[in-house]
């Protein structure tokens, strides 16, 4: 009885996931332009959230500077499409490439800091890159610059058409990041990452290459963040240091999304992004208080259920809605639970 309700809930979850995906596919025909713009924003934020979760939730790189790569993507896209006059559709993947190239020196800097200090270190690097972007006169310096109409029109002569095009790009970016990261998590690499998430020292002992996985995840995330930056630039039609490198939009909100939704799970960022948009659309009129509510909520989550809302729900479910780790054979579980504490005693 109990097992069947659990299985039923799992299938309901999967059904909701597919229904959501179906709605997103049909969105341009279903919704008005303002809703399409909102959904575009949703998809960009979802992409960034999935990537922060990969980096912080699995690879244990607690960065608060990931907005740097969004900004780099934005500026690179603008540079290729507007200044270098390359085909804007080609400029989008090129922006991802530039973000990836920047990730290498950034990594060389912040990986020298021990874990506890990496967070602020990554913030310093992001701040430096933002200030440096403000020194680029071709990009309008500190006040930024708008995209010329000629480039904008390539994405659609009429606003409605353009919104639909940008929406499809955002959809493609989000789909690519979700599916490819899901495949990554299902591979042997994903098994190693799950081991890091659960117990870093233990993972090292069983032969998981910790630093290799951390490097892979950090480099994996950067191009997707760059793509998100390109989409965001298309939507805002301009680049400016504080907006393109916005710590509030691309890091603060994203951390709240992942923490509240459930860090270290694939479902968490998705749930978190949905909840975040609900909170924002209903509570944004209360101004600063919605930040305070998000802050209190995330602290409460860390204290009460570090695995977030999804962790809470997951307690009552027999398996993940989005399966990532191949399940061990059933008899394996009880022995594992019995033997672990015994080992920890023996270590004393």
């Amino acid at each position: 009885m109990k097992a069947s309700t659990g299985a039923f809930a799992i299938w309901c979850g999967r059904l909701a996931l597919f229904a959501g995906a179906a709605v997103l596919v049909a969105a341009p025909w279903l919704f008005r332009v303002t809703d399409i713009a909102l959904l575009t924003e949703f998809l960009s934020l979802l992409t960034i959230a999935v990537m922060w979760n990969l980096v912080a939730g699995y690879a244990d790189i607690v960065s608060v500077g990931q907005h740097a790569f969004v900004g780099i993507g934005a500026y690179a896209f603008f540079g290729f499409a507007v200044i270098a006059r390359i085909d804007p559709f080609l400029a989008i993947p090129l922006a991802a490439l530039v973000a990836l190239l920047f990730a290498i020196p950034v990594m060389a800097i912040i990986f020298r800091l021990r874990a506890a200090y990496l967070a602020v270190g990554s913030w310093v690097v992001a701040e430096t890159l933002m200030l440096a972007a403000g020194k680029l006169s071709a990009f309008g310096g500190g006040s930024g610059i708008s995209m010329p109409v000629s480039v904008v029109r390539i994405f659609g002569a009429h606003p409605a058409e353009r919104y639909a095009t940008i929406y499809w790009i955002a959809f493609a970016v989000a789909a690519l990041s979700l599916v490819s990261t899901w495949l990554l998590m299902r591979s042997r690499i994903g098994l190693g990452l799950t081991a890091i998430r659960d117990d870093e020292q233990g993972a090292g002992v069983v032969g998981v290459n910790l630093s290799g996985l951390r490097i892979l995840c950090f480099l994996w995330a950067a191009p997707f963040l760059g793509l998100a930056g390109a989409v965001i630039t298309l939507q805002k039609l301009r680049v400016a240091p504080p907006a393109s490198f916005s710590i509030i939009d691309w890091t603060v909100y994203v951390i709240f999304i992942v923490v509240i939704g459930g860090i270290g799970s694939f479902e968490g960022p998705i749930i978190g992004t949905v909840i975040f948009f609900l909170i924002r659309s209903y509570l944004s009129e209360i101004g600063v208080w919605h930040f305070i509510i998000l802050g209190v909520l995330s602290i409460a989550v860390v204290l009460v259920e570090p695995r977030g809302l999804w962790g809470l729900v997951r307690r009552f479910l027999p398996e993940d809605v989005i399966p990532i780790t191949r399940r061990p054979p059933l008899p394996g579980r009880p022995t594992e639970q019995a033997s672990r504490p015994a080992e920890s005693i023996a270590h004393e």
Binding site: Q337, A338, P341, A342, S344, I345, A346, E348
Partner: protein, 235 residues
């Protein structure tokens, strides 16, 4: 032993999560008595020590010092009540000087007549090295500081957890010679040790633990080595 023993442990079980590290253990230590706990790795010796100083995850049963239950007391309160631990692996504060380490022992303990001079008389080398950092000392000297730190707390009950671990035999001999002298002050001593012969030689009584249970207890002089060995390995 007449009246209330110094330490009495009554049907004590210790849990880590669902794992039961100790199962209904009964034992006692009298004032001025050396009691040895022997047992193989994982038998529950360290869990017993942790439980007495109030550092176990969850316990059932009673741990009483002079009849007063120690349950629900913090480690700091238990230390003030007169229980001092020489932890396994010494666990000195490595960037503090010898003197600072000893003073911390004095501060966490209770009032009493054991002072710095007593410790320096017991271990003269520590007086010479009192201004040095603990990490600059040899293993044997570090163990002296650990014992001194516990004694400066003026304990009624001294817990020694594997004090011979990783030390040269000569040094171990010196340390074990100190135990009867400490006993003369009326301090009860509970010794946990894997080195059976060493700890049985010095003990008034012993308990053997196997898989969390006491399977043998008695006086070393009255128990044959074969019986001890059989219970130690669980034959």
């Amino acid at each position: 032993m007449n009246g209330t023993p110094l330490l009495s442990v009554e049907s004590l079980s210790v849990f880590y999560g669902h794992f039961r590290a100790l199962d209904a253990v009964e034992l006692s230590v009298g004032a001025g008595e050396i009691v040895s706990i022997i047992g193989a790795n994982g038998a529950g010796k360290s869990s017993l020590m942790k439980a007495i100083v109030g550092q176990a995850d969850r316990i059932e049963g009673r741990i009483c010092l002079e009849g007063a239950d120690l349950a629900d007391r913090s480690t700091a309160e238990i230390a003030k009540a007169g229980v001092a631990l020489v932890p396994e692996g010494r666990r000195l504060f490595s960037s503090l000087t010898v003197e600072e380490n000893l003073r911390i022992g004095q501060e966490v303990g209770r009032e009493g007549d054991i002072g710095f001079d007593d410790i320096y008389r017991m271990f003269p080398v520590l007086r010479e090295r009192r201004r040095q950092l603990a990490r600059q000392l040899s293993g044997g000297q570090q163990q002296m500081v650990a014992v001194g730190r516990a004694l400066l707390a003026n304990p009624k009950l001294l817990l020694c957890d594997e004090i011979s671990l990783g030390l040269a035999p000569v040094v171990i001999g010196d340390l074990y010679e100190m135990l009867p002298k400490i006993r003369e002050r009326g301090i009860g001593i509970l010794v946990v040790e894997q080195d059976i012969s060493r700890s049985l030689a010095v003990a008034d009584r012993f308990y053997c633990l196997l898989e969390g249970r006491v399977n043998l207890s008695g006086r070393p002089a009255e128990t044959s080595r074969e019986i001890v060995a059989r219970h130690y390995f669980g034959g």
